[in-house]
């Protein structure tokens, strides 16, 4: 009898601690709700026949929506075009942002250098705001309706340049000086000595660039005319909007999943890398 009291008390305290923990997690749970709801419904809708969805029923499992979505757009081609665009662009960007970051790391600024600001200001002048003038330029160059035209406005990237600049600034001075003494040219220093050291920054930039451009919609909408040159977001948008008949919800959900799947898979596999990359890309890393 005497022994059971402290036990009960301990149990009570444990319970209280548990309730406390749960309470402290409550905001997180509440916060998760809308996101869970949206994601959950997308999944449910994708596997439910549209007729049932329209009656507000869920349940009967089907893969038909995916089969139809796959048949409704040339997905292999859409994936291929998107991959060509984002990886091709990334390849060019690796060159431009590394060189630019390297140059910026050496500019002694403190507010006087116009070049520094010229690059920095691009953060505020996103290409999507410039669709009209950039379309006219691309048109003048005879490049409308090409995947290369999609990439052009993004070749120079202030985000990338400043990310890399930070990487370069972290490299110890002595290392550079030693290389200089050895008679290396700046190009050799950049490619042989520095590049391996900024790999984390480069990787972070690569991830952000891939995600951002994978999801790109407005600029491709302006530039691409031929259906066979479409990227995923365009292919999807054209069947998410109805012209004459009713909305096929199941199909739209299945299409959304097909479009997002590669990125979602990559995200689930490399979650930490994604989160770090995005956190860094905010300039203040």
């Amino acid at each position: 009898m005497t022994g059971s009291r402290p036990l009960a008390q301990r149990g009570l305290r444990r319970l209280r601690v548990r309730v406390g923990v749960a309470l402290r997690d409550l905001p997180a749970l509440v916060l998760a709700l809308p996101f869970l709801f949206v994601a959950g419904y997308t999944l449910l809708a994708a596997f439910t026949p549209t007729a049932q969805l329209n009656r507000g029923e869920l349940g009967q499992f089907t893969l038909e929506n995916f089969r139809l979505a796959w048949a409704s757009a040339d997905f292999p081609r859409l994936y291929l075009n998107t991959a060509l665009f984002v990886f091709g662009l990334l390849l060019v960007q690796v060159f431009t942002v590394t060189t630019a970051g390297f140059a910026l790391a050496q500019l002694k600024v403190r507010g006087q250098n116009a070049l520094f600001y010229l690059v920095l200001a691009q953060l505020f002048l996103p290409p999507s705001a410039l669709i009209l003038p950039n379309f006219l330029t691309v048109n003048r160059l005879g490049l409308t309706d090409t995947l290369s035209a999609l990439a052009l406005p993004y070749v120079a990237s202030a985000t990338g340049a400043f990310l890399l600049r930070q990487g370069f600034l972290q490299v110890p001075r002595e290392l550079l000086e030693a290389a200089l003494v050895d008679g290396a040219t700046p190009w050799q220093i950049l490619t042989r000595v520095l590049l391996p050291l900024v790999r984390p920054q480069l990787a972070a930039f690569a991830l952000v660039s891939l995600v951002y451009h994978w999801n790109e919609f407005l600029w491709p909408l302006v530039v691409i005319q031929s259906p066979e040159k479409r990227v995923l977001s365009l292919g999807f948008a054209s069947f998410a909007r109805s012209a004459e008949s009713g909305m096929e919800w199941g199909l739209i959900a299945a299409g959304a999943i097909l479009v997002a799947l590669p990125m979602v898979l990559a995200f689930l596999l490399f979650q930490r890398a994604f989160v770090e990359a995005f956190a860094r890309s905010g300039l203040k890393g």
């Binding site: 549209t50 007729a51 329209n54 009656r55 507000g56 139809l68 979505a69 048949a71 409704s72 757009a73 040339d74 292999p76 081609r77 048109n139 409308t144 309706d145 005319q225 031929s226 259906p227 066979e228 292919g235 948008a237 054209s238 069947f239 909007r241 109805s242 012209a243 004459e244 008949s245 009713g246 909305m247 096929e248 919800w249 199909l251 299409g255």
Partner: protein, 425 residues
């Protein structure tokens, strides 16, 4: 995998100079099952014409498809053929982008027969100054769909749909059902207000005795500030705001067939092209009927036609024509109609055994054909999209009660005239 193989074969064929590849670019809005049918037709065509390979692609919805084609023309890179709204004739002419079919009609008796066999209503938007500029493919008219079960429940005769606007309102009142708290569980009627189209409004205007344009105006005279247009807009607004038989606000085009199929609305105005969707989704018997009249029956025709673009090479043009003939043949139009609900555009399609059997099973499909006798051409005008946007916005403002109808039509008329000025001097 198959597609990849097909692409490789195409490339091989091209290298050997054996195959002509044409791109067929169609705007069947929501992909859905329609895509599968079209793919099937194209397979059949290719089987019959081994020298031709057809590259089929969704072009997006009508507006999007149009914008893309115009952009391609402006960039000096026109397609061989495209399916665009029949009412785009003037816009395409103003770009000097299309050619008439007449030279080919003279040489090709099959094509000539086709032109004579299309329903005249579907050719109204195709001809100008005696020349044929486009051939019908996916054509439709708006009709009235109604829920027979709901009719029975409300004590209405399911074989007697409303025939006048007044009757429509009266029926809708009886069909509107509320629960114990007074919330509506079923609306009587829904007439969508489309985002960027004037199609359904045009029907109401015709029924009110008017027409949204002057047929002699050569694409330059739009008649918005007129009594029939005002009556049409007011009628639509009153359904919700005065009679309470229709959902409030702007009713979305895309969700309306779903609402109907789910039994939440007892009558809807929608395209015949939605017949397939409703057949597959509704679990109650439904009927189709002419849209009720105020002073006369009438609807605009709708949908899209094949156009021929300038600057296509002769080999491709030949292949394209062959493809167009196939897609507009009586047999294929019948199949397409049965599969989708679009109206078979050839009169002879309706005599085929296939079609007779279908109509016996689904007499609902006949409504659209019979209504064609009262159909008018759909608004044909220069600068089409901007004109439609202006009118649609005025209509929305009236439906939402934001504007008094007289003010809305007057302002829309002024803006439409302004939008047409650069094209019409």
């Amino acid at each position: 995998m198959l597609r990849l193989a097909a692409a490789v074969l195409t490339a091989l064929g091209l290298a050997l100079g054996q195959q002509t590849v044409i791109t067929f670019y169609y705007p069947v809005g929501v992909a859905g099952p329609l895509a599968r049918f079209i793919e099937g037709y194209v397979r059949d065509f290719e089987r019959q014409n081994p020298g031709i390979r057809v590259n089929t692609v969704f072009g997006g919805n009508y507006e999007e498809n149009q914008a893309k084609v115009v952009a391609a023309i402006k960039a000096g890179n026109p397609p061989d053929t495209a399916i665009l709204l029949s009412q785009q004739l003037y816009t395409l002419l103003s770009l000097d982008a299309i050619e008439p079919f007449d030279p080919y009609l003279a040489k090709d008796p099959e094509l000539k027969r086709a032109v004579q066999d299309f329903f005249p209503a579907f050719m109204m938007n195709s001809t100008l100054d005696g020349k044929v500029y486009s051939l019908p493919f996916q054509r439709s008219t708006p009709i009235l769909y109604y829920n027979k079960e709901a009719f029975r429940e409300a004590g209405l005769d399911p074989e007697r749909p409303p025939t006048t606007w007044d009757e429509l309102v009266e029926y809708a009142k009886r069909l509107t059902k509320r629960d114990a708290q007074g919330r509506v569980v079923r609306y009587g009627v829904a007439i969508p207000t489309e985002d960027r189209s004037t199609w359904l409004l045009e029907g109401l205007v015709i029924q009110a005795g008017g027409l949204l344009y002057d047929p002699a105006g050569r694409g330059c005279k739009v008649l918005v500030d007129t009594e029939p247009v005002r009556k049409a807009m007011q009628f639509k607004a009153d359904l919700a705001r005065k009679h309470g038989v229709s959902p409030e606000g702007v009713i979305a085009w895309g969700t309306t067939p779903g609402d109907f199929a789910a039994g939440k609305v007892a009558m809807i105005y929608h395209s015949t092209g939605s017949l397939g969707f409703i057949r597959n989704n509704a679990r109650f018997p439904f009927g189709t009927a002419f849209q009720p009249k105020l002073v006369r029956y009438g609807v605009p025709t709708g949908g899209a036609n094949f156009y021929l673009f300038k600057g296509s090479d002769p080999g491709k043009r030949e292949a394209t024509l062959r493809f167009i003939k196939f897609m507009t043949s009586p047999e294929l139009q019948a199949r397409w109609s049965i599969d989708s609900g679009y109206v078979a555009a050839r009169r002879s399609s309706w005599n085929l055994p296939l079609m007779r059997e279908y109509v016996r099973q689904w007499p609902q499909a006949l409504t659209a054909r019979e209504q064609l006798a009262y159909a008018k051409a759909e608004l044909p005008v220069y600068n089409l999209q901007q004109v439609k946007d202006i009118i649609a916005e005025a209509e929305q403002a009236v439906v939402l009660g934001r504007k008094e109808v007289r003010e809305a039509t007057r302002e829309a008329q002024r803006r439409v005239d302004e939008a047409l000025r650069p094209f019409c001097r």
